[in-house]
Symmetry: C2
Subunit: 468 residues, 2 copies
């Protein structure tokens, strides 16, 4: 015992560096062990899935459908015409939620949309109507649609209509309003409503006529997303190249639309002035791909990751339309102006469909400049993409990351891999103000709650045992 | 002696790997020495420059002027109105050259321009006129202009007019025709001449009216170049983001031009269909910056690198307008269609002004996807940029390379550093067909001949001794 205390210590350290760093600073000889916390999940569930004879083939089927899916821009239509909407309904991002449980930005967007539709004349009226159930709420995902941030889509809003030429499936998304004080971030001021009215009366009709004139040779939006990864975009929080490509693809048709030159110029300025304009085309592109793998029994692949500002929800190929939810985390990142962490709402938006598809946070390595928008360092961005390969089923040859020697994006999140590693998918995201009416406060990084994956794992294991 | 031959050999290898690789393959124990050839230059010249008390301050002045220079798009005008051109003159890329010494693509472009101007009715007539000296030839650089590849600029061609708000200087460049069969690559077929006529009659006037409508708030082209480096362009052989930004900046003004909708749509399609459209805006931006350091006695910084297809020429800040030339090398790279190395002309074009400014080949690390166009691997692209820091005077904070942690581009080539290291600047470039009329055959990488730098070194040393 005396020897133990008098001799120089031999130290083996595992886990956080702070211990070994402190010891090393005192001249001790420390051997670090590369250790990380174990994964999660009931061992019986993990075993059931590991031994499920269907799994390998089912996952291959699922991820191959995802990678094979295409995306063509075929139309622009009012939501009411294509989303199968009853009279008074508002679609929103994430899993189902009631007004009582909605966070500030979702409430703000629902209020704004109610005013925009003319269902209420004042904010108070709108709140009462929404609180009393006078307006139905339903997830975008239940209508083959997706919406960034609050994702609120009302019947009069125009939506992009995209089609997968492989499956023939369609997916929809509203038009991007830009940054700052916008409905999807929970703002509903006069400025927001005026812009929405212009989008309804000018932008939508001009885009619709332009896109319809291109139906002989519709724009291949998937190819544009692939090209973005060669141009420093990751496709979720950086859409600069994609938005410019949108302008390039649509502008010749736009100028031939029968509309006043000042409207045409305003449309071009609006598109050119919004570096996120493409996001609402990228999201339905990812949605088309993920929907093509919506029902593959035995597959443990994630088909949806989405947040309503209160809860994070996922779906898997093996469990179809069932949601697995947990409380949404709050992103960590960089803030606009004087906003700070206390202003940020928990994670919100259907835009995590990008990571579900294998881009966004999963291809941060393709977009090193994004760290100036979401925080972190360039090596972090590279390491994030490298880490996501451990959670995914395949590398998508269509979505290449140049800096990694043109390696395909990590694609098809495997619930089993998430459980085994304990690592969670990395999502790049915008941050909405916690208080309704605020708008955007920043952008950052966030992960789903482990709980979603734990529930999905249990359900997949249960299904596996039932099927066996 | 017997011991020497019977014992296992101990080998130290320096220089090319082929020797040590071969020995290692035979099981020998080889120690590699990281050795490279020494630099060049008369030791007395190197010493004269190293000891020149003016040098440090002069180089700082020169490179700071380069980095401070801005670039605004202020006009689009016919060349004859702004380049101070006599009646029958053709400007060309590179140092001065006579018809007799011109390579195929330069001859092709001169023939095409003579036909385009109506100075000759047939190819034969044009050749006779050019061979007889009936048309003057002069470098673009002698007229504050630059031109990619053959760089042939004739009086009727429209040129971008850019202004440096710091020095008030102006620089000019013709409009980019696209890839393939184009005048600047030496093609002069009907297709080429028809396109040039459309550019003269439609594109030029539309751009001129659009750009003039923007004079209250002229486009900051330098900022666009900086943004390109964040978007996977390197600014010489990859201008995808830049070309899209050009469309974004100009399209709203273009649609308000008083021209038929079909012409406006054609202009937008032409810009949108040419991924190199921005190059002719990037080049005069670099030219403005380099011209601002044109006469700084005692500075060993390169202000021009340029090629006429036969010779490579450089100028330095310390030697003003004097050219130092050597035979142009032939690029190595990737070829279009069935073309191969034997089809490539030696290096041609003023576009090496981009590398002179510190982008292009110098910022390949920002554009890993370019290796699919010019050859090589992604690690090569990263290593090239790293190597160029050894040849340059400064890191340009305005031109950041995200993947290198936003390090500034290596800027201001120092003749003395080139001589000391023996390394030469790396240039990304297009490859024109060796035979007049061919057009583009590929794209690749090339270096200047050492001779240019050796001559410049001697002249700078001579000037240094004279000044001392």
């Amino acid at each position: 015992m005396r020897d133990l205390l008098s001799a120089p210590p031999s130290i083996v350290a595992a886990g956080v560096d702070v211990f070994s760093d402190a010891l090393r600073a005192q001249g001790a000889d420390v051997h670090d062990v590369d250790w990380r916390p174990p994964g999660f999940g009931d061992p019986a569930d993990l075993a059931a899935l590991a031994l499920d004879a269907r799994r390998a083939a089912a996952n291959r089927t699922a991820v191959e459908r995802v990678m094979a899916a295409g995306s063509r821009l075929v139309d622009v239509r009012p939501a009411r015409e294509v989303l199968d909407l009853p009279d008074r309904i508002l679609l929103h991002a994430g899993p189902p939620i009631a007004w009582a449980d909605a966070s500030g930005p979702l409430r703000g967007a629902l209020i704004g949309a109610s005013l925009f539709e003319g269902w209420a004349a004042t904010v108070e009226e709108a709140e009462q109507l929404l609180a009393s159930g006078g307006i139905a709420l339903d997830p975008c995902h239940h209508h083959r649609a997706v919406g960034p941030m609050a994702g609120v889509t009302s019947p009069s809003m125009w939506v992009w209509c995209l089609e997968d030429p492989v499956s023939g499936g369609r997916a929809f998304c509203n038009l991007n309003e830009g940054l700052g004080k916008v409905l999807r971030m929970g703002a509903y001021s006069e400025e927001v409503l005026t812009r929405l009215a212009w989008m309804r009366d000018v932008l939508g009709p001009v885009l619709a006529e332009a896109v319809r004139s291109m139906t002989d040779d519709p724009w291949d939006v998937k190819a544009a997303l692939a090209q973005m990864l060669q141009m420093g975009d990751e496709g979720h929080n950086r859409n600069r190249a994609g938005s410019l490509m949108t302008l390039r693809e649509l502008s010749p048709a736009i100028v031939e639309v029968d509309a006043p030159a000042k409207d045409v110029a305003a449309v071009l300025r609006f598109i050119g002035g919004n570096e996120h304009f493409f996001l609402n085309l990228g999201m339905p592109t990812a949605k088309l791909a993920m929907d093509s793998a919506r029902a593959v029994p035995g597959s443990t692949m994630v088909t949806v990751m989405s947040r309503n500002g209160t809860e994070f929800g996922i779906q898997t190929a093996g469990t179809g339309d069932r949601w697995f939810t947990g409380p949404a985390n709050t992103p960590v990142g960089l803030f606009l102006g004087d906003y700070g962490p206390e202003d940020a709402n928990p994670d919100i938006g259907d835009s995590a469909i990008m990571e579900t598809y294998g881009v966004g946070g999963f291809t941060m390595a393709a977009a090193p400049a994004i760290v100036r928008f979401v925080g972190g360092t360039v090596p972090d961005a590279l390491a994030t993409t490298e880490r996501m390969y451990q959670l995914t089923l395949a590398e998508n040859p269509a979505m290449q990351v140049p800096i990694l020697g043109f390696r395909g994006a990590p694609t098809g999140i495997d619930v089993l891999a998430v459980a085994r590693t304990g690592w969670l998918p990395q999502i790049n995201t915008g941050m909405a103000g916690r208080v309704a009416g605020t708008g955007q406060v920043g952008a950052g990084l966030v992960q789903p709650p482990q709980q979603c994956f734990a529930q999905a794992l249990a359900a997949l294991a249960e299904e596996s045992r039932t099927a066996a």
